[in-house]
Amino acid sequence: SVNPMAYEAQFFGFSPQTCVLRVYIAFQDYLFDMMLVVESVILKKLDAFPDSKLSPLQIRKCTEKFFAFMKEHFNKLFSNLEKVLLQLVLNIPPNLLLPEDKVHQQYPYSREQFQALQDEVQELQRQYRAEASAGQALRAELEEQKVVQAELEKILQWFAGLESICREHGTSNVKESFTFLTQNSKKLQDVLKDVEKKRK
């Protein structure tokens, strides 16, 4: 099973195995290239000895022999190198949290806790909206009350105005003067009847 070393890749921006592979390839490619160079140099040198009876094939076999030995030895060395690099250099110790993940240490919220927090925030939003609309309704009623109150006060003033007119014309208590007025007019009617009778 491949250990993707994902946390390391998150930190390095590449996976450690790739880095190790790059190092491996660096060794392998240059070893290979150098062997080809050595072989071509030897072949060129042999041109100066035409009677040496050494064929390119023979030289090729020598090259392959030396390269095989070096490659095999290198692979042995490299397996240790790979272990050291992956376990000590390109690894992130289990107790280490990367800076971008610090929030998970400060707020270790489980899915349920997070859901509960979200629910509570939604409940607060709902309550706030309810309070806000209640506030609007109350303000609206206050405005309405101002108008109604003004109307009612106007009516009261009207009554007060009425009463002050009466007072201005000497009738302090309207009811009494009205009664007095009624009695007076009754008397006047009686007197009138009298006069009428006498005239007849």
Binding site: F66, F69, N80, L138
Partner: protein
């Protein structure tokens, strides 16, 4: 440090590789040429070893530069140093992105929650005063209506 360890282990492998590929080994593989030209074999070998080491070292430097390894190793060493006190295994991505992303939002959600709590409290306080004013207003209106009622009855 990680940087030094990286250089050390790579250089060690290179040294061991060169040690394994000794001149004796080289001469024995190229015996036919060695018999013909021993000095030349020697100088070819030395040039081979020199070039091999130089080009591998150069390539490793290239790998380090490309991956910004020095910088990364230093900052990782610092992070390891800082985390020394931490014993338990630290958090790791759960593999469920929305879960990991949402808990990254927790501090902001908590801030939002306390903001909402504060403004809700203010709003409730406002509304309490408003409600008292409305009740007072209703009482006032009732009183005015009663006064008007009384006046009207008197006139009636």
């Amino acid at each position: 440090s990680r940087g030094q360890l990286f250089d050390t282990v790579v250089n060690t492998v290179l040294e061991k590789l060169v040690a394994a590929g000794s001149y004796e080994r080289f001469a024995s593989c190229y015996r036919c040429f060695y018999k013909l030209q021993p000095e030349m074999t020697r100088s070819i070998y030395e040039e081979f070893i020199f070039q091999l080491q130089a080009s591998i070292k150069e390539e490793i430097q290239e790998v380090k530069k490309e991956g910004k390894l020095e910088l990364l190793f230093d900052s990782l060493d610092k992070l390891v140093e800082e985390a020394k006190e931490q014993q338990e295994p630290a958090w790791r991505p759960s593999g469920t992105p929305e879960e990991d992303a949402s808990s990254a939002m927790v501090p902001y959600l908590l801030k939002h929650q306390s903001y909402l709590r504060r403004v809700l409290k203010e709003k409730e306080k406002d509304n309490k005063q408003l409600a008292e004013a409305v009740l007072a207003g209703r009482g006032r209106i009732k009183e005015l209506q009663q006064q008007i009622q009384a006046r009207r009855e008197a006139w009636e």
